[in-house]
Structures are given as structure tokens and as C-alpha cells.
């Protein structure tokens, strides 16, 4: 028999649809494709609310339990996990209303806001690392900004091979430092076009090819960003002298102005005495 193109496309689509009979969910539509599965919007019949359902392709090692164990404002809460009639595993989680990071940046937020996003992602990573969970696939498509400005990091614990090349660390064995790489790549991604060299240097250090050359842990990277925001010297960037002076001047502007006023007053008096 022959299958026409339209039928083929239709079959391809329906074959992927999850069969939700026997669950409390009603399928509404596809939202997107994550690391190891497809995410659908569904309605929870019992609680009458919309949720996101992630249906996993093949059985990974307990991705749902992994995420459910983490409780953090930037990590999407898992409501339920189960097995579909066709054997695939799924889990239901909060449906995020908001924009993906790459689209959020289209609104041209200012630099402090961009750094805030990185900060939130970093906090989530630090929390996860302290619980032994590594993200492994950190990229703009996996970060969402909710309707209240809150930041979510999605798609945790994806296996190494599925990482996206541009944002994936080069080494084979992935551990915490690969997430450092990912965070650095994210930082570089959110930086606007004329950007401070100190931030570029931080991102570059986090993205060193040699894992040992990167920051040893996420809080270290965040501390660097904080130093930048406070106008203190950043370790990753050995700044030229004139820049260091400029920074010093901007931090201590008031004091310098007062000293200038004093000097000016003295000179004024000195010259006034002549007349």
C-alpha cells in the first residue's frame, strides 16, 4: 500500500501523541520538545487546571524522581509521575506561562536585568549541585521567564550525549564543571553587544576548554558577577591601569568631588589674596 504525504504527516503526528486514557489528564496540544521527550499542555481533570506533561521517549533513569526531589523557586515543581498505557513514562508539572530566554531577550532588557537572570539560574544550579544533581544541558531554550519575572530552569538531568553542541562542554565525563561551562555560555549569550570586558572575561573563564581552569563551583562565578556589580575588580579580568583608576573614581566619586572642592577652595583663596 502507499501512503500519501498528508497521511504520512498525520500518522507521524498522531503516533507521537500520548495516550492519556486512564490518567486524569486531557491532552490539549504540544508545547515543545525537551531533552528526552516531548512536552504537551494538558488539563488536569481532577483539579481543573492546566499542566505541562512531559512524555519521555525511552526509559531514562528516574528523571521524574530526580526533579521532584528538588524544591527551589527556579526549578519547576513536579506534580505527578506515571506510566502511560503505551509504556512511556511521563510526569506532570507546573505549566509555565512566560517566555523562553532567547525570546525574552528580544525585548532588550538592560544589563542589570540580564545579570539578574543569570543570577537566578546560578542559584538554581548551586542548589541542585548541593543535592547532587547536574543539569548537563543548560542553554537558553531551557530557561524560561515567567509572567511575574520569575526564572525557571527546565529539562534537568538529561544524559550527556543529548546536550546541544554550542552550549555543551567539550569533555566527555560531565560533572558540575560542565554546568559551570553552561552558565558561562548563558552569560555570554545574554550579554548585549557593547558589553563590559570584565563580564566577557568571566564568561570566557567559565568556558575554558580545560575544566580545571573554570570556576570550581557556581557560587564562585556568582561572586565574580557580584564583584563586577559593586564596581570591585573581577578576578577573571586583569584590568588595565587606566580602567582601574576609572572604576575607582566612579566608586568614590563623592569623595573625589569633595576633595576637588577643597583643593579648589584653597587655590581660590590663595589667588584671591593676591588682589
Amino acid at each position: 500500500m502507499e501512503l500519501g504525504d498528508s497521511v504520512l504527516d498525520h500518522l507521524r503526528r498522531v503516533a507521537a501523541l500520548p495516550d492519556l486514557s486512564g490518567t486524569r489528564y486531557e491532552l490539549e496540544g504540544e508545547i515543545g520538545r525537551g531533552g528526552m521527550g516531548i512536552v504537551y499542555a494538558a488539563r488536569d481533570r481532577v483539579l481543573d487546571r492546566r499542566v505541562a506533561l512531559k512524555v519521555l521517549d525511552l526509559t531514562p533513569a528516574g528523571e521524574a524522581q530526580l526533579i521532584a526531589a528538588l524544591e527551589h523557586p527556579a526549578i519547576v515543581p513536579v506534580y505527578e509521575a506515571g506510566t502511560l498505557p503505551d509504556g512511556r513514562e511521563f510526569y506532570a508539572m507546573k505549566l509555565i506561562r512566560g517566555a523562553r530566554l532567547d525570546r525574552y531577550l528580544a525585548a532588550q532588557p538592560n544589563l542589570p536585568e540580564r545579570l539578574r537572570l543569570i543570577w537566578r539560574v546560578g542559584e538554581a544550579l548551586a542548589y541542585a549541585h548541593s543535592h547532587g544533581v547536574i543539569h548537563r544541558d543548560l542553554k537558553p531554550q531551557n530557561v524560561m521567564v515567567g509572567e511575574f519575572g520569575e526564572v525557571y530552569v527546565m529539562d534537568w538531568g538529561v544524559t550527556a550525549i543529548a546536550g546541544t553542541p554550542a552550549f555543551r562542554a567539550p569533555e566527555i565525563l560531565l560533572d558540575q564543571r560542565s554546568d559551570i561551562y553552561g552558565l558561562g555560555a548563558l552569560l555570554r549569550f545574554v550579554l548585549p553587544d557593547p558589553n563590559p570586558p570584565a563580564l566577557r572575561a568571566i564568561a570566557a573563564k567559565a568556558m575554558s576548554a580545560d575544566p580545571a581552569a573554570r570556576y570550581p563551583e557556581v557560587p564562585a562565578l556568582l561572586a565574580e558577577i557580584e564583584r563586577f556589580e559593586q564596581g570591585v575588580a573581577v578576578e577573571a579580568w586583569p584590568e588595565p591601569l587606566w580602567h582601574r583608576l576609572r572604576r575607582f573614581a566612579s566608586r568614590n566619586a563623592v569623595l573625589l568631588w569633595l576633595l576637588a572642592a577643597y583643593t579648589f577652595a584653597k587655590f581660590l583663596i590663595f589667588f584671591l589674596r593676591k588682589f
Binding site: V254, L255, L258, L259, Y262, A265, K266, I269, L272
Partner: protein, 132 residues
């Protein structure tokens, strides 16, 4: 979330005020060296200036413990500086030629600096403060 405390010192503001006042007062007094007629009395000028500075520093530090505002600190400091400089200049005027401008203008600015510094440096409470 993030607190920028310069140095994280455990010195309280009144002490800080006294120290700054002493230092800046002495330096301000030392500039009298550029005026040849004042040079012979340099030592007494410096002492007087230091005391003036310390008094201004004392009050500024006390004020800084009560009110946390860089702007107001500058205002109070400069007002105090002006006041005490005026007193000194008045005392000096009885001795001979008045030098109101030479004393009050720098005194005003030094007071402002002392006011600023007491706002930024030193702790408000008696107990040692933990670094953030």
C-alpha cells in the same frame, strides 16, 4: 541582598569621626604653611585645626549613628564645619586681621568630607558587627 561595606571595619562611627576629624583637621591646618605670614604659628594652627576637626567628627559620627543618609551627613558635616570654622575665625579676628574666608571656606568643605566619611565608614552599633 548584597551590602557594600568598605573594609568591614568594626570601629564605631564616633571613633571614626574623631579619627577622621583629627587627620583631616591636621592636614587642613598644615596647609597654612603655604601662607608665609602664618608659618610661624603653624603648630598652634594645626593643633587648633585638629581639635576643630575632632569636634566636628564627634558630632558627625554621633549624627551618622542616628541617621543613615550620605546626603544629610554631608549637610550636617559641612554646617558643623562652617560653624566651628566661624568660631575659630572670630577668635582669630580679635588678634588682628580677619581671615574669615581663608578659614571658613576650607572648614566648610572639610566638614563636608568628615560628614561623608562618617556615614560610610564605621558601625552604628556598639557591638562588633559581623561582616556580611
Amino acid at each position: 541582598m548584597r551590602n557594600s561595606m568598605v573594609g568591614g571595619s568594626t570601629m564605631n562611627k564616633i571613633v571614626a569621626g574623631l579619627l577622621f576629624g583629627l587627620l583631616l583637621g591636621a592636614l587642613d591646618g598644615a596647609t597654612a604653611w603655604f601662607y608665609p605670614e602664618a608659618r610661624p604659628m603653624l603648630t598652634s594652627i594645626m593643633i587648633g585645626s585638629s581639635i576643630k576637626g575632632m569636634i566636628v567628627g564627634l558630632f558627625s559620627g554621633w549624627f551618622a549613628r542616628k541617621v543613615q543618609s550620605t546626603a544629610w551627613g554631608i549637610v550636617v558635616g559641612s554646617a558643623l564645619g562652617l560653624l566651628f570654622a566661624f568660631l575659630v575665625a572670630a577668635m582669630d579676628a580679635t588678634k588682628g586681621k580677619p581671615h574669615y574666608l581663608e578659614i571658613m571656606l576650607p572648614g566648610f568643605v572639610v566638614g563636608a568630607i568628615i560628614g561623608f566619611l562618617t556615614q560610610r565608614i564605621g558601625t552604628r552599633h556598639l557591638a562588633k558587627q559581623r561582616t556580611p
